[in-house]
Symmetry: D2
Subunit: 292 residues, 4 copies
């Protein structure tokens, strides 16, 4: 029940998109215009690709609007691919290890939404995680469990497919346990080259998800906006909630859809269909990973 | 631009009033119903009188709704006189030394509102503080300056009078400097025996301030409310924003008014009239405290 | 690899023992005189019994010596039974949910030491926790896992026996996995009435553990010490490291020993012998708790 | 009473010098080998020049060794000019606004040491700060006051001279007030192009200060050290305490000395002699800045 944004495009100072944009995500953290919680003040995280090995992650339990360090980093760090997530906790503690994005090797992962009845399912879901990854779960959010399930189910080879298997597995587990079956949310992941995002709800309306329109269209519609004139065909923003009400700037991604964003501004859509796998059948990683 | 509550009455577990009350102040920290900022997530403080010497003060930069320790303390600490303040920072850093209430010896002090153009006045106001107290100002809020001015102007002998002199001095300084002359807010202070609260604005509408009604009246109006039936004639709550919409439970304190609350549920009103003193004339404490 | 102290005796202001004692535990947090890490600056916790339901717990990621709130609480809170733990993290994150003491209902639990090769064992140990308690594990320390295993193995009925079964189970699991078999440490737990403490190491020297001597003996040896003259026969301190070098004040508890402290200053010793149970045989709580 | 390091040279990932160096400054934060406090766990700061306008500053109240974000930033941020400071608080609160380095425009400033009797002098020193800068002092350290005095006394035009005037002014003020006259420490400042550092004590031994030797000499002495082989003639480290015991790598800067480091590895020494100026005479900035 959070907000997130992802940028893939020309290298920019992060605060161009984080603080200097009207209705940007930090502004949303105080006053979200869509979504269940008007305030998202339970920590945040920034994951970025740039210098050094793999992505860097800065996570803080302070509200994003009040974190002096976030403003410093954003104003002094350039990146061509980064994610920002702001959190509204629903039950789990406000601590850095519960802040998104989560990381594994070159991969980042974030989520806006929830798994119903997680308390009743958590043990089953944790057992299905590749035992080699079990101890890597450091916090207590549903999202970190989802991420490690997705890694178990092949995220690094087939991101969307792995999320389909993960969601299918969670839904099957909930049904088997007689728990409420409801996976709700938008997911985003990246390997530092491309971005993948999913909008899905087991039933009912799904959380919102938007992609920025093609640069040429945006520039034609708003020829006097200097910010838009600086955009290039490479640039693509994916956001849980649009930053502005300007017509033609944002395209809603339909529920039950996955998108892939590649360098060059490429944006591909496909259907997102959960795969009701069992832990045993899903992936060779689990073969032989039996319990003691 | 904050919220606060003060209790003087029978000893209660603090969470009775802090978390178990509908529309209580922590609930307000997420969703204030009156006032300028809907979110008050920039830290909070609890000052209480009980065991040990003088008041204890617990201050945290976390939003009150997310601070696990506050719930622990409130659920396990009894007090017959305590203040809670939740903060919405306007400019100054989110740090413990900027959280209210502030303390000096047996005295606590908190404030909801602001001094206009503080940046232009801060040096003049700091210079008027008793030099012996100068180094006791540890943070960067306007309120801590106001408190130390009030101590300089005699708070410990004459609380309301000292606040009148302080506000008058600030207004005179602003006029002299050609700055915007606007002191806005509600103030509350206590010595552990009584409570004093002020509602005032130099011009325009003042921040809201309410006192709980006499217990008998409240009980007569709401004979089926078990919480109200547990109240005694000793009990009095002063709040910046009422906890409920129940008719007859809250009395609005008029702008330009100071109230004194004493043991036994005594609630006295008087007019609050700023005294335009100069630093030199206000108090013997300053005589001989000349600059080098 | 931490330090802890536990008090059972007359009600005292907590800072009597926390800050006003020479070589007290906060002083030790900066400069421990025994033990592996000279600095214990990775958070701390205070668990106390007093007003309200069950124990209160105050935990912070700040070093104990630097936490202004801890000084406030200690100076303004009385308790006749409390635990303080200061942490030197070895690998797991510095976060509140990793700070001791941990709580379940009326029970508190803390630990100084470690489980070797925890990463390799964590999944097996988590699986042996009563499934109803699985989601209650919120952090990533070995101690929280040990506590929930001990609850699974009957801590609330038989504290020492449950810790013997827990340690035995961990050792058996390590041997079965071919991991290093080493449980090292001192454990302390309380239900608010009595205290239980254990000193144990699978092999090699165990972490230190001390109990304060009988009050009469202490007073006879140090007739001029005003602090000791205020002690009553009810008072007993258990500490991982003695607060002073005064002769006759502290008794070392031998390795492989469990002590029970009851009201009235009663201090009972018994041998501590790990029971090499399996998860299945240990307790009815686990019958029928099969994995999916 | 802290530790600091400054780098001017080829662009490096910050963790090359912060975490990957034996006896580096974060290691020193747990176990300083020289200096008054063995533990420096009361926050830290990193100031760096790179992307964006002016320097970025990351400051945290966590001990440097425990701050997960510092490791992330250091591992993913490159800079050719940066400062790191780790703090051991002596009296003033542990809060971000008390962490070094401090910033004004393009300038950074940090300090290791103290001003004796600061409480008695603070008001006089604050009064001598250019009134336009008065409200920029946000914390309660002596260093932030020193920095704003140095800005008042011309730091941006003549860094060493301004620090000489500042120290002289502080010493004169202490003498006039009958306070202990003792300024102790090492100072470092930068405008993003050059670095200036000072080692000074009014009397007695001064805090230590070292510069790395010329690269050719270091490489000749240690031909098998791969780290040293990567150094270029541009590189210069200034540190309060050397990172290693390797002979010939560090040169001690004598007490009463100021050094200037310029691009190209240039290291110039001069004497540091405090100038006993008065506030009025020191600088045109103060003319007309009289008290109201």
């Amino acid at each position: 029940m959070c907000r997130w944004m992802a940028w893939l495009g020309q290298p920019v100072l992060i605060d161009e998109l984080l603080f200097k944009t009207q209705h940007g995500i930090v502004d949303q953290s105080l006053h979200a215009r869509m979504g269940a919680e008007p305030t998202n003040g339970d920590g945040f995280g920034l994951g970025w690709y740039g210098s050094g090995e793999g992505p860097g992650v800065y996570r803080s339990v302070a509200p994003a609007w009040a974190d002096a360090n976030l403003r410093e980093l954003a104003a002094h760090m350039e990146s061509s691919l980064f994610l920002v997530h702001i959190r509204a906790a629903i039950g789990s503690p406000v601590q850095q290890t519960n802040c998104h994005p989560f990381r594994h090797g070159r991969w980042l992962f974030a989520h806006n939404g929830y798994i119903a009845d997680l308390g009743a399912l958590r043990r089953d879901l944790m057992l299905a995680i590749d035992p080699a990854l079990f101890s890597a779960v450091q916090g207590s959010t549903d999202t970190e469990v989802v991420f490690h399930l997705a890694l178990t189910f092949g995220l690094e080879r087939d991101p969307i497919g792995a999320i389909e298997r993960t969601v299918g597995f969670i839904e099957a587990t909930a049904r088997r346990r007689g728990a409420t079956c409801q996976v709700q949310g938008t997911f985003v992941t990246s390997d530092g080259v491309s971005l993948w995002a999913v909008r899905y709800a087991t039933e009912g309306p799904a959380r919102s998800l938007f992609a920025s329109a093609d640069v040429e269209a945006v520039q034609r519609l708003h020829p006097d906006n200097p910010r838009f004139q600086r955009m290039t065909p490479d640039d693509r923003l994916i956001v849980s909630e649009p930053f502005s009400d300007l017509p033609g700037v944002w395209h809603e991604i339909p529920a039950g859809t996955a998108v892939t964003v590649r360098r060059g501004g490429v944006l591909e859509h496909r259907q997102f269909v959960p795969q009701p796998v069992t832990a045993e059948s899903a992936t060779p990683a689990l073969a032989g990973a039996g319990d003691a």
